[in-house]
Amino acid sequence: MSASTDTAPSGTSAPPPPPPAPPALTPRELGRWAWRQLTSMRTALILLFLLALAAVPGSIIPQRNIDAVAVGRWQESHPRLTPVYDKLGLFSVYDSVWFSAIYILLMISLVGCILPRVRTYWRGFRARPPKAPRNLARLPESRSLALDEEPSAVLERAGEALRRRRYRVDIGEDSVAAERGYLREAGNLLFHVSLLVVLVGFAVGGLFGYTGSVIVVRGQGFSNSLSQYDDFKPGTFFGPDDLKPFNINIDDFRVKFLRSGQQAGMPTDFSADVTYSEQPGQPERTQKLAVNHPLELDGGSVFLVGHGYAPLVTVRDGDGNVAYKGPAIFLPQDSTFESFGVVKVPDAMPEQLGFEGLFLPTYGFTMRTGPFSRFPDALNPVMSLLAYHGDLGLDDGKPQSVYELDKSGVEAFKRKDGRPLRVDIAVGQTKTLPDGSSIRFDGVQRWVKLQISDKPAKGVALGGVLLAITGLLASLFIRPRRAWVRVRREGGRTLVELAGLDRSSGGNLADEIDELETQIQQQATPQKEKP
């Protein structure tokens, strides 16, 4: 600015010429500048804040890879926000471009920060302590005292005391220079490098692993192939052929609920007995599967993550033939295990039948709430269903959920007053529908939800975190420190000056210099012999 006013010719009305543009940065300079900006501590701080901020929405908005059902429910109730959120990737924050961008930038910044420091550290690691400054009294902590001994003896003792304190010591002619705490920076560097290791482990697990879940009714089995899964999320580099062909059969499942007290209904224990074989034809083994006790197999671990009810029903069509017989999986809606589900009967003649409604493990009813479940255990199970007839839409090839009824082609059975017919049946009861078909509630079976997952490089991630903590401890608690002692003869006595300098904040230098002073003062006393 000042340059342009200087060059403006004075006394003329002509407008001053535009200030000369600064010389354009060469791409090399620009790159250098950008790199310096990116690797500065200030940028790292801002990126850390951004990372913290960016993680927040994922804890508030339902996430697809955590609870897809919740995402669906949220989207239904926010039709206008959904497309916007979808565009922004807010339903899968932690895979989104912007979240990845932040942590990748942070990692680059980290690498850029530590690479030069590693180089500096490598050179500094073998360095000798710096020579004593001229004026020790100017340092943050300094003392001086006078002794009667020879200077060399004092220096020797000071050096010894400093060595015992694990200083690196150089004894000169009239001074001692000492430094310690070289490992602090090593810890710091180790911590930051370890974070990269953790990230690599995490990424490998995500790319080469998979997670899937499946609901298996008690007494039935599961074999590890893609078609068997209800839900399957492979990593980018994981193909369905990589699945190991193990088999699991759910032989038994037990659950206990607290029967009384304020927390009645809380589950206290659930576990399943399973029989498995790692490969078809290999010997079968049995194991108890429970929360915190997974089954670890080659190519995946099996976890018991949930359970619920599968009422057994028999549906006869209008012609009197059995059109459906077996368990129907109902999904629990809350902690009372009030469960929602459907029974689809595509084989019923003349029209297909469908049922949709609730399974209540312990039936309760009030006029205000209608039917509800009093208790999560199956003490008095009742099904409360609406019955539909028509076309279930299963034949046109469109995929549909087994837990929902496509109602576009079906019509509810009506009561005489025109309201939809509700079928409430207890175990053993049969209800006949207006078209002559019937549904019977035969009994209750339970199902378990298994999660099967494989995350390679778990050990890498864990090892990385442990190394990071080791480095962190070193970088937080090792105090790099310098100390100097200088002696000179004056008036027949030895004048001793000592001083210290903390190279990290938070230290307690005064104590150390005090102790050093005491040790220098002490006359060399013979070592006490151990008894």
Partner: protein, 345 residues
């Protein structure tokens, strides 16, 4: 004693602990009230006074820099402008300060007894942190414990009024709003990682709480130090120097951070791997534990960055403790996710 006896003993012990904490709080209030017109210690030997008890003949209850003030800053027979005897005031300050610390120790013992019997009161006996009530009681104990452990080392008595106040508020809220009778654990908590993970989290969070108090007071004190007309008496004037507060805050945070790292990023993931089949799944609780970790990492970096030192770092520390609280209260009560053990239905 039967489990039911233990459970009712626990309830009584926690109630008594709250009362004793309240008395300790009042005692610290009295300490500061008597010190209101006492001049603050002359800022001599400040580099030493923070971390090393000044030899002022003080043996119990932590020698603080103002302990020295009680003797050093007041010359014999000094009288303030209203004609009150400053020496008597200094004596009262010291007396109530020590009573406060003693009561805090008694309250902490009752608190501990309440926690232990709470575990024995469940059938079968278990660790006393399985629901929100117990997390709150255990968390408040973590804060008190951290304070008492560091009291001597860092001369923390100026924190007493905040620590005891915090304990009273948390215990009251726990008893009034969060209480559930002692009962068995939900199956997801049947694991020894419950001990490792939760103990580490409680200690880490306790350190962060004490650190946040120190950082908050640092902000107040450094503001007062910048003012030319800052009062020379009263609580703020009698606090240690801002640089000392900053150092104490840093040390407490530096102690808490590795423990938090272990709790949130080692013990938590290992347990999650056993319980849920994935070591990290961005569950809301995990997200906020991660956010807390990142914010405190930023705090440690900020202390080493020009322009962020001091005030900036202290504010980041307060934000960090805010995320701890939100994770504990917000996510447990209003959030969904896998860590839903509040026991409040």
């Amino acid at each position: 004693m039967t489990p039911a006896d233990f459970a009712s003993f626990s309830n009584n012990a926690i109630a008594f602990a709250s009362v004793v904490y309240a008395l300790a709080f009042l005692s610290h209030i009295a300490e500061w009230a008597f010190g209101r017109s006492l001049p603050a210690e002359a800022p001599a030997r400040t580099t030493r006074s923070a971390a090393q008890p000044v030899a002022a003949g003080v043996s119990a209850g932590g020698a603080a820099s103002y302990d020295a003030a009680a003797g050093a800053g007041v010359s014999e027979g000094a009288v303030d402008r209203d004609g009150n005897d400053l020496e008597a005031k200094a004596y009262n300050v010291e007396k109530f300060g020590r009573i406060g610390v003693a009561l805090t120790i008694v309250a902490a013992l009752l608190h501990l007894a309440g926690l232990v019997t709470r575990g024995l009161g469940a059938d079968p006996a278990r660790v006393p942190w399985g629901n929100m009530y117990e997390f709150s009681v255990a968390g408040a104990f973590g804060v008190t414990l951290m304070y008492l452990v560091l009291l001597r080392k860092y001369s923390l008595r100026w924190l007493g009024v905040f620590v005891t106040g915090f304990a009273v508020v948390v215990l009251m809220l726990a008893v009034l709003l969060l209480y559930v009778p002692a009962g068995p654990l939900v199956p997801a908590l049947h694991s020894y990682w419950l001990v490792i993970h939760v103990v580490a989290a409680v200690i880490g969070a306790g350190a962060f709480a004490v650190g946040a108090m120190a950082s908050g007071l640092y902000l107040v004190k450094s503001r007062a130090e910048r003012r030319a007309d800052a009062p020379t008496t009263g609580y703020v004037a009698r606090l240690p120097e801002a640089s000392v507060l900053d150092r104490v805050a840093y040390r407490v945070h530096a102690f808490g951070f590795p423990i938090w790292t272990f709790a949130a990023l080692v013990a938590g993931p290992i347990w999650a791997e056993y319980a849920w089949g994935r070591y990290w799944g961005w569950d809301p609780k995990e997200v906020w534990a991660f956010i807390t970790w990142v914010v405190y990492a930023a705090y440690l970096h900020a202390r080493a960055t020009a322009g962020w030192k001091g005030k900036g770092a202290a504010i980041i520390a307060l934000v960090g403790f805010g995320t701890v609280l939100f994770n504990f209260v917000g996510i447990n009560l209003f959030g969904s996710g896998l860590h839903s053990y509040s026991g409040l239905g």
